[in-house]
Symmetry: C2
Subunit: 331 residues, 2 copies
C-alpha cells in the first residue's frame, strides 16, 4: 500500500508517529537514484548498502513522486481479482510465476462464480483471515467447475528463470532474499529453490494434511506479523494490492483458531471477478513499483536512511516483509 | 497470546491453516526440555539450536500444559493497566525496566482518570493504533496531573543489569536479540545498549519532533508486521497481554496516516485502571511465561521443530517478534 503522507494535521502531538512513517516530504532530489547499481542475483551475497550521502535525502514519497511511468508495471487484468465485500473491495494479484496451477484454478473458480455468496470464515489475531466454503466437507455450498485442475503442492519453484534483485540485508528465515517483478522472494541457493514468502498481505491456498490437498478454493491472507514458519509448507498464490484493511479489521473469530462459531458472524463475499471481466471504465487500474530499476533502489534507500526531521537514529536497514513494493492507481 | 489449539473442527479443509498453527497436540513428552542449557547472554553469540531429537516432538501446547507454576511470572498489578473499550478490555503491562519514567507517568495519568473519556484517534493499516487526547495542542480535553514528571527519551537502556536469554537466530535489525523476564529485547553489544523492540503488540509513547516530547499521555500499539525501523527512535513502554484484537480490528482511519477524520469515528475509551486498583476478585490474573527456564527453551524448540502432522518442512528457526512469550490466566 502506498504511504499517505499528504495532508498532515497541524497538531504536533497527534502527529507523533506520523513523522515516523514519512519524513522529508519537502526535499525533492533523488539523492539515491545514482547510487543504485544493478543488484546481483539473490543467489549471490549482495553488497552492503552504502551509507547516506552528505546533504539532502529523498523521502519515499519524493522517490515515488519523481518516478517515471516505466518504473511501474500494471497488475495483469487476467490474473488480478476484485473481491467485493459489504465493507468494500479487496484487489488481489495472483502470482502465476510462483503458483501457476493454483493461479489458473483460482481464475477458473472466480469465472465460474464459485466464490460468490461464500464467506470469510475465519479471522485469527496476528495471523490470518481465511475465506471459502465453510461447509466444504459435507453439505458443500458450491459446486466446483469441472475444468479445475488437480494442483500439485506449489510451495516453491526453481530459482532458475527468476531475475532476482537481491536485498543485502540478512533475513532470519532464508539464506537469500530479494524481489522479482514486484514480488518479494526468498531463496535457498543450496537447493536452487525460490518461494513467495508469507509477508503481511500475501495470500495463500488453504490445505488439509496432504501437501497437495489445496486447489485454490480456500484462500487466506496474512494479517499480522509475517508467519514465515509457514514458508515451504503451503502454497502462496498472490498478494492483496488494495483493501487489506477490509480483511484485517474484521472482528476476530471466537472459535478455535479464529474460526467464526456462528454462520451469522461470517462476512459474506458478494462477488469475485477477474479484472479482465470488468468493463474497462469500472476496472481498478493498479500498478506495482518495478523492482529491477534505479527507482526501486532509491526507494529502498529512502526507507533505510530517513535522516532529518523526526528520526534521530537511522534504521540503515530494510526488511523483506517490511519493504513490499508500493502500489498505486495508474495516474 | 496463547495458542488455542483445542476443539478442532472436524472438517479437514476448513482446518487448513489450523494445522499450521499447532501440530502434535497428542504427544505429551517434553522431548526438548532436557536439551535446554542455560542460554548465554545476548551480548555473546549464542549456540545454534540443536536439531530435533529422533522420535516424539512436543508441541507448544504440550509444553505449556506440562509447565510448572514457577515457569510463569505474574503481570505486576501496579504496572498493568486495564483499558475498557465498548468492544471489550485491553490489558497492557508496562515495561518499567525499559521506560521507568514513562511507566510511572502512565500509572499517574491512569490514576488521575486522564484517559477516561478520551479516544482511539488513529488506526493505520499494518502499522499502529493510537489513543490519547485528539485535541491536545489547542482545546485540551483533559488536564494532566501535576505530579507528572518530565520524561527523558527512553529509547534504550544499558545492557548492564539485564539478564538476557539469547535467541541464537539472526535478526535483520539488531546484532543480538533475546528475552529478559518475559520481554523481547534487542541489543547492540558495541554500544552496550538494549531496547524493547517494536513487535506486534508492543506499546509505545507517541512523541512530536523533539526526542523527549513524549510523556506517556499518547500511546500506540503495533498492529501489523513489526516496524523495527522505529526502534531507537521512540520510547516503547509496554506490551498488550490480552485484547489485542480490540485494537487491531478497528476500522482504519481514512485521514492521513490513519487518523480518524471525524470525532464520531473514534472509539471512546470508557475507563483505564491500574490492576492494583481493581477489587481483587474482578482483577484479571495474567501470567507471562518466564524466559530464563528450561520450559522456555522447550517452548522455543517446539516452535522451531513442528515435525509430524501438517508441517512438511521444519522451520528450524524462530524469530524475535514471532516468538513473544505466551500469556495465560493464572490457573
Amino acid at each position: 500500500m502506498q504511504e499517505r503522507c499528504h495532508d498532515r494535521r497541524n497538531t504536533p502531538r497527534t502527529l507523533a508517529l506520523a513523522l515516523g512513517a514519512c519524513t522529508g516530504l519537502l526535499s525533492a532530489t533523488l539523492a539515491w537514484s545514482q547510487a543504485a547499481a544493478p543488484a546481483p542475483a539473490a543467489s549471490q551475497p549482495a553488497a552492503k548498502p552504502a551509507g547516506p550521502a552528505a546533504g539532502k535525502k529523498a523521502s519515499s514519497a519524493d522517490i515515488l513522486a519523481a518516478s517515471k511511468p516505466a518504473d511501474w508495471r500494471a497488475a495483469d487484468p487476467e490474473l488480478t481479482l476484485q473481491m467485493e465485500l459489504p465493507g468494500g473491495k479487496v484487489i488481489i494479484e495472483l502470482a502465476s510465476a510462483f503458483a501457476p496451477v493454483h493461479a489458473a484454478n483460482i481464475v477458473k473458480l472466480t469465472r465460474a462464480g464459485y466464490f460468490d455468496g461464500l464467506a470469510i470464515i475465519r479471522s485469527q489475531e496476528n495471523y490470518v483471515t481465511q475465506w471459502g466454503d465453510a461447509e466444504e466437507e459435507d453439505a458443500r455450498a458450491r459446486k466446483k467447475p469441472d475444468t479445475l485442475t488437480k494442483a500439485p503442492a506449489e510451495f516453491d519453484r526453481p530459482l532458475k528463470g527468476l531475475k532476482v534483485t537481491a536485498l543485502p540485508e540478512r533475513d532470519t528465515w532464508a539464506a537469500r532474499v530479494g524481489f522479482v517483478d514486484g514480488w518479494p522472494v526468498a531463496v535457498d541457493p543450496k537447493t536452487g529453490r525460490a518461494w513467495l514468502p508469507h509477508c503481511n498481505g500475501i495470500v495463500g491456498a488453504a490445505r488439509g494434511n496432504a501437501p497437495d490437498s489445496s486447489d485454490g478454493s480456500g484462500l487466506y491472507a496474512i494479517i499480522g506479523h509475517a508467519p514465515r514458519a509457514l514458508d515451504l509448507n503451503i502454497t502462496t498464490v498472490g498478494r492483496v494490492l488494495q483493501g487489506m484493511d477490509k480483511l484485517s479489521s474484521l472482528p476476530r473469530g471466537t472459535g478455535a483458531l479464529g474460526f467464526y462459531e456462528k454462520a451469522e458472524e461470517r462476512t459474506p463475499i458478494t462477488r469475485v471477478r477477474v479484472l479482465a471481466d470488468i468493463p474497462e471504465a469500472e476496472r481498478p487500474r493498479l500498478q506495482v513499483l518495478r523492482t529491477d530499476t534505479a527507482t526501486w533502489q532509491a526507494w529502498l534507500n529512502s526507507r533505510r536512511f530517513r535522516g532529518g526531521g523526526w528520526f534521530v537514529h537511522e534504521p540503515s536497514k530494510v526488511e523483506l516483509c517490511g519493504a513490499l513494493p508500493p502500489v498505486r492507481t495508474a495516474p
